[in-house]
Symmetry: C2
Subunit: 294 residues, 2 copies
Amino acid sequence: METDTNSPQTQSPHPRLLRTLPDLRELMSALRAQGNRVGLVPTMGALHAGHLSLAKKSCRNCDATVVTIFVNPTQFAPNEDLDKYPRTLTRDLELLGELGVPYVFAPTEATIYPDGFSTFVQPPDVAGSLEGSSRPDHFRGVATIVLKLFQLIPADIAYFGQKDYQQCLVIRRMVEDLAVPIEIDVCPIVREPDGLAMSSRNRYLTAEERQQATAISRALQQASALADQGESQAEVLREAMRLDLAQAGISRIEYVEVADADTLRPLERIEGPAVALIAAFVGKTRLIDNWLLQ
Amino acid sequence: METDTNSPQTQSPHPRLLRTLPDLRELMSALRAQGNRVGLVPTMGALHAGHLSLAKKSCRNCDATVVTIFVNPTQFAPNEDLDKYPRTLTRDLELLGELGVPYVFAPTEATIYPDGFSTFVQPPDVAGSLEGSSRPDHFRGVATIVLKLFQLIPADIAYFGQKDYQQCLVIRRMVEDLAVPIEIDVCPIVREPDGLAMSSRNRYLTAEERQQATAISRALQQASALADQGESQAEVLREAMRLDLAQAGISRIEYVEVADADTLRPLERIEGPAVALIAAFVGKTRLIDNWLLQ
């Protein structure tokens, strides 16, 4: 059939882009009325292979997938990178189109936070340490936008990346505490070949910083290896990670922790499920990563 | 048919009483699958004619009505009347049965607030004054339980009484801010023949206090009459109400306010929709009431 030269490989349809609440509500009503299983992938855009792994899983397991793209201002402190956070909507839509994602919701700030908006979710206790210490109102903003997205998009399941480990615990506990009727699926961290965890902020790094940044995942992997070899003193693992970072010239460390995998309480001895977590600046870029310890 | 002597008048069926989340979820799935319009009436029990007016309206306008009965501990301060708050479940079920309410959800405290519960709703700005000043964490508790009930019972519409005027504004704003998919219907205050607003706490009053308490609604009605006569100075109305209360011997006043009907900001001049509100102790019992000014 020579008149039809478009194969699915050469031209992927873009997802349908929804911008307003009425459009979104109409879509959700239709999807629910048809009895679809709906998957939700909340993102701040600037999509990388980590995000795409979530979207792929949703497309595989659900009848309809909604990816949201919204750089949520309430989770950034005034001194943080809200203004320079990468916004790449056109490219994001192409990438999602290639995966066959049918719907993208990308609201404006005024749509999500209209005049007079003043209700927030006070996140659960697990939000208090680590990222919550470094970024005091961060999880309040995260919990609020995620709860609002869960109201706007009554999906069956929502996909999050383990890269934001504490965020996943905050969301799981919020959903449980408030009985939000949605399943939370936490998916594995996607890494560059050299181990660096995928992050939209990696594009801030210079070539030299990019090289330096690999020390973070190396330190975590090293801690995991020590634990595998039977080292149960958490401070030994923390000290080893600090040394790895120092040797790579990473000096501005926000935390290096070995904590209970569920509560994030710092451990003395590793006796059950645990997680190693790092937050550190490489140049001016704040990076986080984590590794489950068995 | 002499073998069937039970008429609906002589024996009303009790509502079905649900105690657990699995039972509730099963019911809600069935109701939604059948396409029912569901009405929700959240209460703390000790039902009076005010509550019953909400349940009646829900039964009239919805296919299925769920009344919840839960004395919510997080909205009481340690010095308040949580322990002595009246609990009259058997009588409540009888009253709801007489109205034909089909479902009552009355969970235990551990069902709503399991171990480790720590997520709360930080209520909107309108929660800050009046009751929010007198009872600092009250609206945090109210917003949290109401949001959780809205997640557990995905109703089309929820009914609240105007008696808790500020609470209604808090809930409306929360629902708007967080995009909770439910309609809020605020229903008129039901009063005793002498004007006293119905309240579960009225049963705390001695005969003498019961008489004294009527001064609250008289003061509000008086303020409304003054406004109707063209008095637009809010302080004149407040002063008149304070005098009414003083003359009745009510001296422990928490607030006497004339405020914007939407924002609850105190007014100097009445130029649009306004509301007069009183909170005062009669004996040891704290009573509230309000009156819309046209």
